[in-house]
């Protein structure tokens, strides 16, 4: 055989085998990972590219989309289910339990202990405890708080309590109206809380005697005299719960109310949780405040309606404040306060109108 004849056939053989190898590699190489996975399978069962994708979607991982907007890269908010579960299974029932049991405790306390009477009975002589502006600020806050609390509780509990009464269509209208009203009065609440804070903060810092007052239970259990300044420790605690709770409510509320500043669903959900918890706490503690301000302690309501309290009330509940007022009063001339009503002539309070 000659050299030339051998190279021509070999050449053809090389080319054919090369092409066949390339084809085989092209087809076989991608199958290697599958072969590996088949031989050594990954946890989660049979690998499926589709399920991996949807798993990633469900976990809330952000993808890229052409749509511009907050959260638009997240197709399904996985944490939303957590939030819904929390609201329906924990916030609502536990909140009802919390409010209900505190209310029941208060009623029980009233039935057992009765109202705290003024020691030695009222003297009939009055001193001013709160001026017009302080009372106006308080009731301004109260009226907005009640509106928000009522509409808010309807939003939380309405479906259980009102649908049986109004029917689904009626409740739909009511709840929507309540939502609008709640959203409207929300920002005002921040104004009210700030006014309340500025008006009352200076007497609500810790002072000597507060711890003793707390340890003695404010004299509510077992009676006995407990010393206090203008506000006792219990009132101070309520003040800070109301203010701080109120701020949490306001800030979370504003986040929820004006959802146009880039809040994502996570932020909204967390805000709602904080809003709900803070609301239930403040509402529940307010039950105690309302009780003590009305039926619970004789002679207290007048301080916030007409501004005056009996001197005996002042001496027994806020002795240090009473002493300060008396000292200041004797140092001044006999001129009546300029901005609002001191008792009319004859020392009898003018409560007409």
């Amino acid at each position: 055989m000659s050299h030339r004849a051998q190279s021509g056939a070999a050449h053809r053989r090389i080319i054919v085998w090369s092409l066949l190898s390339l084809l085989a590699l092209t087809l076989l190489l991608p199958l290697i990972p599958y072969a590996v996975a088949y031989v050594a399978p990954v946890a989660g069962g049979v690998p499926n590219p589709g399920s991996d994708l949807w798993r990633a979607v469900r976990e809330g991982e952000a993808g890229t989309t052409q749509v511009q907007g907050v959260d638009s890269g997240i197709l399904i908010n996985a944490s939303g289910e957590t939030w819904r579960h929390f609201r329906m299974q924990q916030l609502i029932p536990l909140g009802a339990l919390f409010m209900g049991s505190v209310l029941a405790l208060i009623v029980l306390f009233f039935l057992v202990r009765g109202p705290l009477r003024i020691q030695g009975g009222p003297t009939g002589k009055k001193i001013q405890r709160f001026n017009v502006f302080e009372r106006t600020t308080h009731w301004f806050t109260v009226s907005i708080f009640w509106l928000l609390a009522l509409t808010g509780l309807i939003l939380l509990y309405g479906r259980f309590v009102l649908i049986p009464v109004l029917g689904p269509a009626g409740f739909g209208l009511t709840a929507s109206a309540c939502k609008e009203a709640h959203n409207l009065f929300g920002p005002m609440f921040l104004v009210a809380i700030l006014m309340l804070f500025v008006t009352f903060v200076k007497d609500n810092f810790y002072a000597r005697g507060d711890m003793m007052w707390l340890l003695k239970g404010g004299g509510m259990i077992g009676g006995g005299h407990v010393s206090a300044g203008r506000f006792n420790a219990g009132e101070k605690i309520w003040f800070w719960i109301a203010v701080l709770g109120g701020l949490v409510l306001s800030v979370s509320g504003l986040i929820l109310d004006f959802a146009v500043f880039g809040q994502g669903r996570e932020v909204m959900a967390i805000s709602h949780v904080l809003h709900g918890i803070a609301a239930l706490i403040v509402i529940t503690v307010s039950f105690g405040h309302i009780y003590l301000g009305t039926a619970g302690v004789e002679g207290t309501l007048g301080s916030m309606t007409n501004g005056y309290v009996d001197e005996a009330w002042a001496k027994s509940h806020h002795d240090r404040w009473y002493a300060e007022v008396k000292a200041a009063g004797s140092a001044e001339h006999e001129t009546a306060p300029v901005d609002d009503g001191s008792p009319a002539r004859d020392g009898v309070m003018d409560t007409r109108g």
């Binding site: 301004f140 929507s176 920002p187």
Partner: protein
């Protein structure tokens, strides 16, 4: 049925009662005989009348510290209310439908701000009225009804922003009708009566050369 009445005959009645009532109240102050003033004026009564109408919008310097809440809350309420009445988008549309006159409404955020300020003002004023011994003494049912009715009109108005429920809009309109019918026979007439009152007093002091 109720909605048809509210959108129909009730509205007509309310408008007529309001218009005729206000007119009658204003004209009726002239149905008593008046004596002329024979004194020789030092200054112009007309200038005094106009001056008082403008000056009394702000408190005198000596009264600022004593009337802060009245002035601040008063203006928050009145300015907020006028802004809502004239520039809230639903109202602008309504006025255009009724009269053909239209103008640019305020943006939604401005509506919210106006509503907040109006409510804050009204609440503060009404609570102050109840708390202050002077206003507690001189206030009567009329004062409270006027305040509460206005509050309810404003509240139902804001609730009616949910347009899916026509019932809320009807409720608001019905409250407005009640308010319009109540207006001429009530404290709300101050909205018109302040003009002649300021004018009479301004003229009286103006003739004496005193800026009132």
């Amino acid at each position: 049925m109720f909605a048809q009445l509210v959108d129909g005959i009730f509205w007509d009645i309310a408008l007529w009662v309001f218009a005729l009532g206000v007119l009658w109240r204003i004209l009726s102050i002239f149905r008593v005989r008046n004596k002329p003033d024979y004194s020789v004026p030092r200054g112009s009564g007309l200038v005094g009348a106009i001056g008082a109408n403008l000056r009394r919008f702000m408190p005198r310097a000596e009264m600022v510290s004593r009337t802060r809440l009245h002035v601040v809350a008063g203006y928050l309420f009145h300015l907020g209310l006028f802004a809502l009445l004239l520039f809230a988008a639903p109202h602008v549309l309504f006025i255009e439908e009724q009269t053909g006159l239209g103008w640019t409404p305020m943006p939604y955020w401005a509506f919210i701000v106006a509503a907040q300020l109006a409510f804050i003002g009204l609440l503060l004023l009404w609570i102050h009225r109840v708390m202050h011994p002077v206003t507690r003494l001189i206030s009567d049912a009329d004062d409270h009804i006027a305040a509460i009715l206005t509050f309810v009109v404003m509240l139902t108005g804001c609730m009616a922003l949910i347009e899916e429920f026509d019932g809320l809009r009807v409720l608001h309109r019905f409250m407005v009708e009640l308010w319009l019918v109540y207006f001429p026979f009530s404290r709300l007439m101050h909205a018109f009566m302040f003009i002649p009152s300021r004018a009479f007093t301004g003229a009286w002091f103006g003739r004496r050369g005193v800026k009132a």
